[in-house]
Symmetry: C3
Subunit: 460 residues, 3 copies
């Protein structure tokens, strides 16, 4: 059995504060699907991990898409008739419609309004809006502010460039004892939105950093790429390699106190779907488990029918359901170290299952073994509270027929995987269990038909 | 893809009034399982469609049954001691027990009562009763009327004949581009009961009339036959041909405002079962979907184990559950043109699915295609209401792997089939979908194992 | 078809009183997992049936276990400083921790308390406690009594022996027309606890007695053995033979008015699981059907992975859930003849299914046969209460395709098996059904893959 190294990550004190600090560090940067904001963000992450930077030039064809021109912005504001900056990109980068073309003009209020986006239902918040593939320019501001603007001439400036350049993404690989991969993917294209997605960029970076010294069964690949076009670019460049991906998670919005939420892969019964459903079911909160649907983050690309990878989406509050979503209220007050820490632990718990699941085989399958003389059973009979402590042992022994893995047993027994895994270790030490041998059970392969491990010994 | 001709029937304005008018026309006729009432009713229907009349002679063996003698009735009444007609068949044909033998006698009240059927719980209504296979005579009347009758001698007359003759049924075939058939069947044996079953006789006749000019994939067979013995006769005479039936509906009681109700075929997972469940689920009301049970209308015969055809039962209120059922209250006030029209549209919606389901195959299965540049996607990003309009496109593209038909996709996406079908047409026009080619997918056949289409291209 | 002999047991008047009387007879005996108490109890049962006694010597290895030394007790008490017996085994054998080693000593109250078990939450009841495999001695008493004891010296005596001897169990076989077996098993190791398990020992003994004169398809094996170690011993000695067991029930706690409760076999879909679920569903009460879990009575051994026998657990109230459980309140007032009788009838109903299930094949599968002329159908049509009486006939005929057994049909129709079986007999007498012939249906074998009857004709 593998050393339970991944599980040890769970015990990491202060991880919430560390993730929060990194999220806060990258929060102010103005990111979009291309441009220096992405590069600078990756630079911050690269202080923690040996991150590879990739550039895909403008005009490159990636499946049905073409890498667009690179967008960079220096300055943007609206001045009123008195020459006062009433809106300034420097104070909040949400103020500019992402991918706005450059503009410098004077307009009457009515004309200006055609280029201003607000949230009438949340009149004090600045919305986040983009226009990647339609030629446009615009500002975003609080509805109250817009409503209070007097008639008059306004001067607008967007000092931005849209030029040939490249799309940037970062990639980090932790090598395990096998080539089989676990994929983590987070979008890096949103500007100053703390939960969406500074939270996941920071969490995954620190997870990768903590994994680095560990010996793991799987190799772990971390992809930090712009949403949609970035994931598509990564898939186009790595098409031949994706068959190595056994399990994957897209991660976003992991810093708020809601959820947890898991959206299943398109397959619906992938091992990661079962592992995450199990972990969230024992996480103490009321989890939301969603069937796959074709809208959301980059699971849309990983789960497109031509790839159909076993990749789900992990979040706390589900995107689009919390009032701060895509507004200036998704700021550093909205995410908390304790929520980042618990999100981190849920992912680690899932990795513990992914790394450490195995199929026990009872050495004494006929009748129960005598647990009492091995110190594994309440000595005093008749007391009906006694056996509760032994239920994990009893469940494992009853299902240790080589057809059930520890996760199967944990699901059936409604016990946390870690409890079952620990009990299984004690039974193995007592000689009551052995690991299923290669090819011993014809059903071993059948259990996880999707994950490509058919007929293979789980290395431990 | 077939021209969406069947779906166009949905738009037919005034169809409810037309169906109502035909139902009202045939309502007064006294029908039974044999006799001139059936012939006259078929005569009315034949003004709309090219109906074939069939006669099966008395004594013909049809499976376990024998065609009975033909029953015809001219006159029937009860006169009181004063010679006044207190019950008269001429005013309501429910007054006579169907298949009563002729009688002319004078009887005291006590003797008369042995031959009178009433509804003590609905004392103002006349019940509908039959005695096809037991030698009997009788009258049906309001319980209040019976209770008020004074002692005395009553004269009864039933001037009916039970003689060798034949059983009559009508049949109409709309020829499609294939020999595969959709069967519609309605019982024609009930006397003046408007919902049960003038409503369905009229609705199906007008549906057949509207279908006539259309080019359809399927051939459509309409059978108007007496309940039980008529359907058995039709099956006995067409035994060799029933394997052509791919989908079928028995239709009755479609003029009231209840339900809608669909009772599944014996198979329970026939395509028609899925199509009707889908249509009723999007019809706006609270549908009742029933598993098959071996009591009801002629689905009992079509779904007998030796046939086991994919034939369900469509109704508004379920038979036996509404107080007007089998009483004089099932009259022309009980059925409404608007209910007949909505029943008609539900059937047309199901035919649209039956005719126009197909398996799309994405031409760009790896990652999503760029919908934006094809005008199929909200240009402005970040707004979380935008994508709702695109969900049909996203669902279709995600499931267009050749293993899912449009109905599969509509079910999964919880969108109406028509919305999915229309979106699929736009995607096909954009070159993003092609139709699944013959034999391309080994699972194509597996999807509807029951409907005999295994391995076959859906002609479009 | 077999004579419905087993079903006749259902009519046995007075069975509740007979079971109660036998339970009362064995109630006072002090039993443990070994010793003369078991032998004396078996002696009482042997007055009703031809019971074989078996002895397994101390030290015998049975799978992972070893038969312990034999425990016998003659006398036990606690005397207060005044020499008065304040606790006496002679008045209630629960007072002594089962398998206590001998002791004779004077102790202060504090020392005594270390050897006394009470129930603080049920302070007036004496608990039942055991210490089979840990060297210990102890007394059980009411918590109120312990709390009231004054300081002082107490004299304790347990005159018991723990010596080489043997473990005793009893076995009875009723031979049927085949070697296939139905197993009944009840634990015989509890002292004076009426429901747990004098009730089941008495019920099964009288069931065995009543079965004796009957000709049955199955052979019926009754095992009365100490819990855990006794069942393990029986399995170790009969390992080669257990493959004959087609259906089995562990029975305990069948005298109280709760439940009924059925815990499924580990397989979860064994025929006995379906039969018991069906019977309890029609028993009029609110049954509890539990999935298998690896704690309870001797189903733990029969359902260990190396055996995985189709054996469930039948109880009224589930063990551990009623306040009298494992206390002195589980006495002869707690069990009632009427509950014993209804438990008996539920078991008999399940045996009726096990013995008399068969697969009917309709002789007239195309359309319904004409039930009316065979007197099997309401003659008067139109009345919607009429058909209820005929539903069993209609269901059987509709499903008599050789793929459905009577139990399948009863489940689908939600009718009691006995009603369906009786209706099937009438249809068979009318020539409308025949029994499925050997090999006629390839699916016949598939229906109960677990019960070993694959491809075999059910002898009737």
């Amino acid at each position: 059995m593998a050393a339970p190294s991944v599980a040890e990550l769970r015990e990491h004190a202060g991880i919430g504060a560390e993730i929060y600090a990194l999220a806060a560090e990258i929060y102010p940067i103005c990111r979009s699907i291309t441009g220096d904001g992405v590069r600078r963000t990756l630079g911050h992450l690269a202080r923690h991990i040996d991150l590879e930077m990739h550039e895909a030039p403008t005009g490159t064809q990636v499946f049905d898409w073409t890498i667009p021109r690179e967008w960079n912005i220096r300055e943007a504001w609206i001045k009123n008739a008195a020459g006062e900056r009433i809106v300034d990109f420097a104070s909040c980068n949400l103020h500019v419609l992402s991918y706005s073309r450059p503009v410098h003009a004077k307009l009457p209020l009515d004309e200006l309004k055609k280029h201003v986006f607000t949230l009438p239902d949340q009149p004090d918040l600045i919305p986040y809006r983009t226009s990647y593939y339609a030629d446009n320019w615009g500002f975003c501001m609080a509805h109250d502010q817009l409503a209070a603007l007097p008639e008059g001439l306004y001067e607008v400036l967007i000092d931005a460039s849209l030029e040939d350049g490249s799309l940037t993404y970062g990639e980090y690989l932790h090598r395990g004892t096998t080539d089989e991969e676990v994929l983590f993917s987070a979008h890096i294209c949103h500007p100053s939105l703390a939960n969406d997605n500074c939270s996941a960029l920071a969490l995954l970076t620190l997870l990768a950093e903590r994994l680095a010294p560990l010996r793991t069964r799987y190799s772990y690949r971390f992809v930090f790429a712009p949403g949609t076009i970035g994931a598509i670019t990564w898939l186009a460049r790595n098409e031949a390699r994706v068959s190595r991906i056994r399990h994957g998670l897209v991660v976003s919005c992991v810093g708020d106190g809601g959820g947890p939420t898991y959206k299943k892969s398109r397959r619906g019964d992938a091992f990661i779907d079962r592992a995450m459903t199990h972990v969230l079911g024992h996480a103490g909160a009321s989890p939301t488990i969603l069937e796959f649907f074709p809208y959301g983050y980059d699971e849309r690309q990983y789960c497109s029918p031509g790839f159909d990878l076993p990749v789900g989406l992990f979040q706390r509050s589900q995107f689009g359901t919390f009032p701060q979503y895509h507004t200036s209220a998704d700021d550093l007050d909205f995410i908390r170290p304790e929520h980042l820490a618990s999100s981190y632990r849920m992912i680690v718990d899932a990795l513990d299952i992914v790394e450490n699941d195995w199929r026990p085989h009872s050495t004494t399958p006929k009748c129960e073994p005598q647990l009492g003389r091995r110190g594994l059973y309440s000595a005093l009979g008749g007391d009906h509270d006694g056996p509760a402590k032994s239920m994990a042992f009893l469940w494992i022994l009853n299902l240790a027929d080589g057809r059930h893995s520890l996760l199967d047993i944990a699901e059936r027994a409604q016990l946390p995987f870690a409890v079952v895994a620990q009990a299984a270790r004690r039974l193995e030490e007592s000689g009551l269990l052995v690991e299923e041998r290669c090819g011993a059970s014809p059903t071993a392969a059948g259990r996880h038909p999707d994950d490509g491990r058919a007929g293979q010994v789980l290395p431990r």
